[in-house]
Symmetry: C2
Subunit: 205 residues, 2 copies
């Protein structure tokens, strides 16, 4: 039985930060790292070529397509997706090691990927990042546009669709423009609070 005095060593959490593209998931993760929060940030494996300023094992695990195919076949990935022709995926081994060391694990995944994780690890903690409204989302996607109009309208349509998938998530945070630290504070509060639950999540992977 759970007694009040066992709670000093809470179970580590598997935290998924997700949301439509354009809401600022990467900025949230970036700020969490800058603030030195005591989490293990998962490094994604990818088949895309390493850019000059990137480091293997820090920005991504850069792997060949053959190696990636092997990871898929051997069921070594929590989830994977094809992003603009390149494969990206999250190695189970990394997550497992971090959890075993007692650290909370944070990963950033798109909405569809988050739903896959939810099915595979029902005890994962799912946080949905959104912005103030659909118009604002469209504005942000327009501002950051690097693609053709076609691709933009596709991104907008996808984002709108993804906003409807929120029901599978535990928490939702509105990431307001110029309030990145507020968003990070909220993520932090959610994680701290989950560790105070009497019935704690038990992640099995």
């Amino acid at each position: 039985m759970h007694t009040p005095f066992e709670i000093h060593k809470p179970n580590p959490l598997l935290i998924v930060i997700s949301g439509p593209s354009g809401v600022g998931k990467d900025s949230v993760l970036q700020r969490m790292k800058e603030r030195g929060l005591p989490f293990h940030f998962v490094v994604t494996a990818t088949t895309r070529p390493k850019r000059e300023n990137e480091m293997d094992g820090k920005d991504y695990w850069f792997v060949t397509k053959d190696r990636f195919a092997e990871m898929i076949e051997k069921n070594e990935l929590i989830e994977y997706a094809i992003v603009y022709g390149d494969y990206k995926g999250i190695p189970k081994s990394e997550v497992r090691q971090a959890l075993e060391s007692g650290k909370d694990v944070v990963m950033r995944i798109d909405v569809q990927g988050a739903e896959s994780v939810h099915k595979l690890v029902p005890e994962a903690l799912l946080i949905f990042i959104t912005c103030e409204g659909e118009d604002e989302l469209e504005r942000r996607l327009r501002v950051r546009r690097t693609e053709t109009d076609d691709s933009l309208s596709l991104r907008i349509a996808t984002a709108r669709k993804e906003l409807q998938r929120i029901e599978a998530f535990d928490y939702v945070i509105v990431n307001q423009d110029f309030h990145l630290d507020d968003t990070v504070d909220k993520v932090r509060a959610i994680i701290d609070t989950e560790h105070l639950r009497v019935k704690q999540r038990k992640v099995e992977l």
Copy 2:
């Protein structure tokens, strides 16, 4: 359906702060008030005589035994208990009014009372305050002793028993000696976080 943009006006919460006697529930509530946290703090009704420094409607609602009996009969109380021969109870009307105004409502109740509230209002948020261990609890009860030895051992036995009732609660906070503000921060984080839930509690009273 709940869409991401409805979340700006979260449902008000009914928050129960409970735990064995000796863990410092009153100090926690006191500090929350001092810090001006934006909650409605429920005022308990009591039949005990008003002391000189007390104010009706602030410290307690001071009512006659006849009035209290009427409140019981008319089902006007969320819960009530006899404490050292005096009746104490929480008026539903006060809680209802605060919730209607959109405020989160905080009340401090003993463990048994918290369980009654849980049955009456399953969507109430139950926080269990405890201390570092049974020995520490006994030490605190000894330090604050105002009663005979008999009464002390009874209090210790009751407190030990109450420590086992934690399973009915949502969250547990270890209120460490000299770390009252940490405890209040945790209460605050729990409440803030509950407002970020996709599936929010809907309190009906």
